[in-house]
């Protein structure tokens, strides 16, 4: 019997009491209780991660989360893990600093968002608002390509990247990822809702086709653009297999690759390792909370119609 058991028993007792007195209230109570428990379970690894990052390595193993507040001091709760993290890593290819990986990841995720945003929206516009020969055939082909598991292409693409001389360059990651079918379908769906009359009117006014895309269509599909940016950024930021397979030079690597290889390097310093992981999950979180409404709408827009 401990505090946890006490809490569980108390919660159950409240439920039984409510059930006897006011049935309806007991359902509401049970619902919020379960949701709170689920939320607690979901949150706990995040809380634990933050605590691990700020605990000194001498007390890291002593407490599950943070030491009690009365024991806080620069010896127990401090920024040492972050200082160690940024102090540079001795590798076979010289000293590499953690900020280099952050810059690489930011660059690749940034470029891996902006470039597909342009090409996917352009393609999506063509699919949504133009009639042309073989369009049905093209869209069936696009759907079929979406069904193929990506890993099937890894071996042949690897050989191709090698033959192109793109090994250990960012071209290997940015060029094949410059446009994707999923994004084009997302934009096609959003742009279909743009009134034809607006496009016609712009054409009457003598606007060029690209000008219509840029100045008429794109401003009207801002929410979808936001959702797409978030999805693309998450994908590029969290990408592992591509960078792992195509990049070799230590100072060109990205955060997922480095954190996956680093347990060996930081093995006695879980705190440093967790500090690095904490930093690695902040940028997507910031972007998500800025764009979360659009994201959920974009994520489910394909499914709900089904």
């Amino acid at each position: 019997m401990n505090a946890w058991h006490g809490m569980i028993l108390a919660a159950a007792a409240v439920y039984v009491a409510l059930r006897l007195a006011r049935r309806k209230a007991s359902t509401v109570y049970a619902r919020y209780l379960l949701l709170a428990v689920a939320s607690g379970l979901v949150l706990s690894p995040f809380v634990w991660l933050v605590c691990s990052a700020f605990k000194d390595k001498d007390v890291l193993m002593q407490f599950t989360f943070l030491p009690p507040v009365r024991d806080w001091s620069p010896d127990t709760v401090n920024l040492q893990n972050f200082r160690d993290l940024f102090s540079g890593q001795q590798t076979a290819q010289g000293t590499v600093y953690f900020w280099e990986y952050i810059v690489n990841s930011l660059f690749l995720a940034g470029a891996g968002t902006i470039i597909p945003l342009f090409f996917c929206s352009l393609g999506g516009y063509a699919l949504a608002k133009f009639r042309f020969r073989a369009k049905k055939l093209l869209m069936a082909f696009m759907l079929a390509t979406m069904m193929m598991p990506g890993m099937l292409f890894l071996a042949p693409v690897y050989r191709m990247i090698y033959q192109l001389g793109w090994m250990d360059t960012y071209w290997a990651l940015l060029v094949p990822g410059a446009v994707n079918v999923f994004g084009m379908f997302l934009f096609r769906q959003a742009i279909t809702a743009v009134p034809d009359s607006l496009i016609e009117a712009a054409r009457m006014d003598g606007a060029g086709e690209f000008g219509i895309y840029l100045h008429v269509v794109m401003p009207l599909v801002r929410p979808m653009s936001a959702a797409f940016c978030l999805i693309a950024f998450l994908g590029a930021w969290n990408a592992f297999v591509g960078p792992q397979v195509f990049l070799q030079t230590q100072s060109k690597l990205t955060l997922p690759v480095v954190l996956n290889q680093s347990l060996g390097l930081y093995v006695q310093h879980y705190g440093t390792y967790m500090a690095g992981t904490l930093l690695a999950i902040i940028p997507p979180a910031v972007l998500f909370f800025a764009l979360q409404k659009e994201f959920v709408a974009g994520l489910t827009s394909g499914a709900v119609k089904g």
């Binding site: 099937l152 191709m160 033959q163 079918v181 809702a193 930021w237 969290n238 709900v304």
Partner: protein
């Protein structure tokens, strides 16, 4: 379809416009999809040693894979994981969605956001975090289990072959329940309120309303989620790879894609890697077609 019925006023030049706009996609698809696709077919019948050399070997790659016990270990692990995803994870996600949908409160958005948040963390980062959470004695999971049921503090989740799959499942529940909940929640919000109310007025209890009104209305989305979840499960790789720093003791965390990755890149055998890729593509195609068939048959 909202196509412009009339020919665009731009005349001749406008006829080429869609092709110009689609050109980047068409070019990249030709280079990075069609050509590798043909190559993937050819590679599967070649023996390679790194990206440079190759010899034709007929069906030997397939024969090798299908007689390799490691492949069957991978197939078994992946199938167990996929079954748990569909029969444990999705019901949990639906349950959470039902609980969220029942309330009208402003807390709904808050809970939805919170339960979804693990999805922002990439599989590799999740694997890294949980590899420490499952540490014997010091890991949060072990300490939590010990406090709750008096067992688990010293368990070596990631180095005991029979505990690797449970640990992987716990991790994937944390990561994906909220994600699938979003889909179910979106579907539940489209269920006609009148229908539910009519059934309730007619004296149907909450279970009967769920089985006869709610579930049939969300069926299209449920089928979509089941198929996507199965396809995703069969492509599992990064999460166990980071969690176990490889494939775990006795390959207890080896998945099909892990096997492919290992063959193609660790061992440099791109040919056998391609053969595994085709076997995987076939497995996924057969299973998703079967699921769609079953859901059509169940429609009556």
């Amino acid at each position: 379809m909202n196509d412009l019925r009339k020919r665009p006023a731009g005349g001749r030049s406008a006829r080429w416009t869609p092709w110009v706009f689609l050109a980047p996609y068409l070019a990249l698809t030709a280079v990075f999809f069609v050509y590798p696709f043909i190559n993937a077919v050819l590679l599967a019948f070649q023996q390679t040693n790194g990206p440079r050399s190759h010899v034709w070997v007929g069906l030997d790659n397939f024969r090798f894979v299908l007689s390799d016990p490691d492949f069957y270990t991978a197939l078994w692990n992946t199938t167990v994981y996929a079954l748990v995803s569909v029969f444990v994870q999705l019901p949990l996600a639906l349950g959470l969605a039902l609980m969220l949908n029942a309330g009208r409160s402003r807390l709904k958005g808050f809970f939805r956001l919170l339960l979804f948040s693990p999805n922002l963390v990439g599989q590799i980062f999740v694997g890294v975090i949980f590899s420490v959470i499952f540490m014997p004695r010091y890991g949060m999971f072990n300490q939590f289990l010990q406090a709750l049921i008096g067992w688990g503090l010293e368990e070596r989740w990631l180095s005991n072959p029979s505990l690797v799959m449970p640990a992987l499942i716990v991790t994937s529940l944390w990561l994906y329940v909220g994600f699938n909940m979003i889909y179910f929640l979106a579907a539940l919000q489209n269920v006609e309120k009148d229908l539910v109310e009519a059934a309730t007025v007619d004296g149907a209890g909450p279970w009967r309303v769920f089985w006869h009104v709610t579930l049939p209305s969300i069926k299209p989305v449920a089928v979509f989620v089941v198929v996507m979840s199965t396809i995703g499960s069969y492509q599992l790789f990064e999460l166990p790879y980071a969690l176990l720093k490889g494939f775990g003791p006795k390959n207890s965390g080896l998945t099909i894609v892990g096997y492919l990755y290992n063959t193609a890149f660790a061992a440099g055998d791109l040919g056998t890697g391609s053969a595994v890729g085709w076997i995987l593509a076939l497995i996924i195609a057969v299973i998703s077609l079967a699921q769609l068939r079953i859901s059509h048959a169940a429609r009556e």
